[in-house]
Symmetry: D2
Subunit: 254 residues, 4 copies
């Protein structure tokens, strides 16, 4: 049984006058922040503020790079070459790392956003391009991989430090993949249910798929959405239950 | 008399399919490259290639950040707050530094581009915002200041390492400021003339202003434009003449 | 005494996933919508939806063009040439007009946004560049000018149809200019007060400046902010009071 | 045998300080200009200049809209919804039409650029979204369809005026599709060969595919690339040969 687990959440997705998310509230319940890098969301002022807030709360910071598509919030697949993916990731990691450096923090991890992340789940070469960017940037940086996807293999092949993540608030298929969001009910909004799944993952080492199958998982980080209506309730409940179980919420890199 | 001098030049200003400048040729005659960071010019693929080329030629790399105005090539003044200037500079330095890191190079210096640079010449608070970004990013980074401007004072007040630059191919006013580009003939296109000015700066420690006044200068770096028709001829001639005078062309940071 | 008046309000300022304003509510209380054109705010999907909604509610549509600065919401002055202002305005008017055409509506008016609008208040040449773009686009389009500014003169010189606007919810100086927003209390948030000012403008033909001076005004359109906390209350109250006074709220172009 | 034919070419692809293409030279040899609309290339100043030049030379203007991807020049497929395609096309057509209106010209046609064009060749629903945008913008506008693709069917289903185009400088497959650019030699650079293909298309009504098959075609417009090294020679030769054959080069819309 794990004695500690990380909780990661997407942060810093506001842009200029446009506000998105409830970062100041969410930040109290997570240990790692995936911070947007100004391409699909975020801007330098938002990055500065988000990193400052993370530091104040003892939350570790990571880059959350995406496609160059603010208009589509990085959720629309773009046909990039592998060299482009690698260069775009380096750019975004570097941009965020500047704010981390300015605040005396390391860049703990990198986790691809949106449609780029979805591509990485299923495309080994794209995953490797992301992993190459990560390891070229910093050989100690953590590449966050969705458990059960080719991302784990990509990390191995490229030789980057890898941490596997499992979703506390998503429904799983029996083969360990995420049930498509297109299927109604695939995102868990009930805090009790999400917390139960989180605890089962951390304490028992499995999730129960939608058909009842027990799927073994061994994550080092739990992902929770920060932008759903029940996000704060879910995060509170998970934190409370982990505390009762004497499992500490600790950044993945420590 | 100086035994060494740096030559810096703007590089990496292409964008996507759009090509600008003659980087592969210019790179042979300079010791420091001011590389665009994707805001007023440049993109991640161009940054990757430019840093790679700089490394191959032994040229040190620096960030050349500008306004978020690709359409205006960063040459149009924008009314930013000081906090915005600082954050925008951090972002761009970090983005370029990622490519430097990936190629095993330090980020040697930062030099503001275009209208932001022009603002820094005359606005102490804007200069200090740039200097603050520099020192927050890396206490050893060099802040390139135009000799005789408030940038030098800004560097002192902020406590950032500062290197003063003088232009080899610009006409000077008797007070040490640059003659406005709006006055015809303010950019020197004659290689002989530019090289003579360069040598006088380095060997004698002064430039002759347009009215004949000797203006004392003690730069550690010479700036030469890379995008004028005679750029290569000017750079060759300056390099040749410096070599004859046993003055080595060496990156400012070494 | 006027029997009719127009009420205009900025609309369509959302962008991608980012939502701004309360357009569906505001739209019920106005007769002219100033719709963002995708540069400082807005995007084609938002423009399509906003024009559709305007048509359904019988609201006339106008272009609300701004600087190419989404990051700054068009609120930061940019040093553009007059030719650039003219071309940028044509571009944005045309883009919005396409959606108007697609819905069978004319483009009734154009009103510059943010820092570009502020420039137009005080810079005759910039105002004329905007007016030229308007009249080149359509000789029947209405150029909305802030009453008492050089915009009115610009319209005359260029020969564009002009409608003067007065703010229902802004405090005025004795010389008829707007009291700077930097002075606390310069935006009126009290519905009673705003409605009283609106009625006085329409029925009596003057506003009372902050020092009690009566400033004569003869607007054809009232501007009300749609993004303040009390916007809906202000708009409701103004509409109610105008109705009681048998003054109809009618698009400026009819 | 045709007595007239249109020649269309992509124009106005410069952006800010970045220059692309040889528009002033090419403009003398074409009758219809496909003008970039500021998304994948072009900007308002370039659009203004390009439309003015077209008017001076008697060349008809059309919109050449593309993906919102300046960095990739619109050559990278993006997964847009049909509603997005339709709205993005309306926006870009409108933007260009403003310059046409300002110069007293109608917007003659619309032709999708790059990866969006490639999608339209093979995806009926995407083609129909483009055609819907066209007909909603103006029921008389011409939708340029690559002969032999689903675009022709899309035009019919949507009810938009359609003109089929054939490439003078591309090699054809026996089934009437274009040989992929990935196959070496698929773009014809020899002026003699291109002109021969052009004449055969116009006079005889067929192209000879790479395997010798005669493919019947009945285009109303010939597309020629303006950005290849031999573009001007090809255009000159085609113009000369058409003239000798007493076939006039006339805008498709006249």
């Amino acid at each position: 049984m794990l004695k500690r687990i990380d909780i990661n959440c997407d942060m810093g997705e506001s842009f200029g006058v446009y506000k998105l998310g409830r970062d100041p509230e969410v930040m109290d319940y997570i240990s790692s922040a995936n911070i947007a890098c100004g391409w699909h969301a975020g801007d330098p002022m938002v990055m500065e503020q988000t990193v400052r807030m993370a530091k104040e709360r003892g939350v570790a910071v990571g880059a959350h790079p995406g496609y160059p598509d603010l208009l589509g919030f990085g959720r629309r697949r773009m046909d990039l070459s592998l060299a482009e993916i690698e260069a775009y990731l380096l750019y975004q990691m570097g941009a965020l790392a500047a704010f981390a450096k300015a605040h005396g923090l390391p860049l703990q991890h990198v986790k691809a956003h949106g449609a780029l992340g979805n591509l990485a789940f299923v495309d080994l070469e794209a995953s490797k391009a992301i992993a190459r960017a990560a390891v070229r940037f910093d050989k100690n940086i953590i590449f966050v991989a969705l458990a059960g996807t080719v991302m784990v293999q990509a990390a191995k092949e490229v030789g980057v430090r890898c941490v596997e993540e499992v979703y506390a608030d998503r429904v799983y298929n029996p083969d360990g993949t995420l049930q498509s969001r297109k299927i109604s009910g695939s995102v868990i909004h009930d805090p009790e249910k999400a917390a139960r799944q989180a605890l089962m993952i951390v304490r028992e080492g499995y999730v129960i798929a939608h058909n009842g199958t027990k799927v073994p998982v061994r994550p080092e980080t739990l992902c929770v959405h920060g932008d759903t209506p029940s996000a704060i309730s879910i995060l509170q409940k998970i934190n409370d239950d982990l505390k009762k179980a004497s499992i500490s919420v600790t950044p993945m890199g420590r």
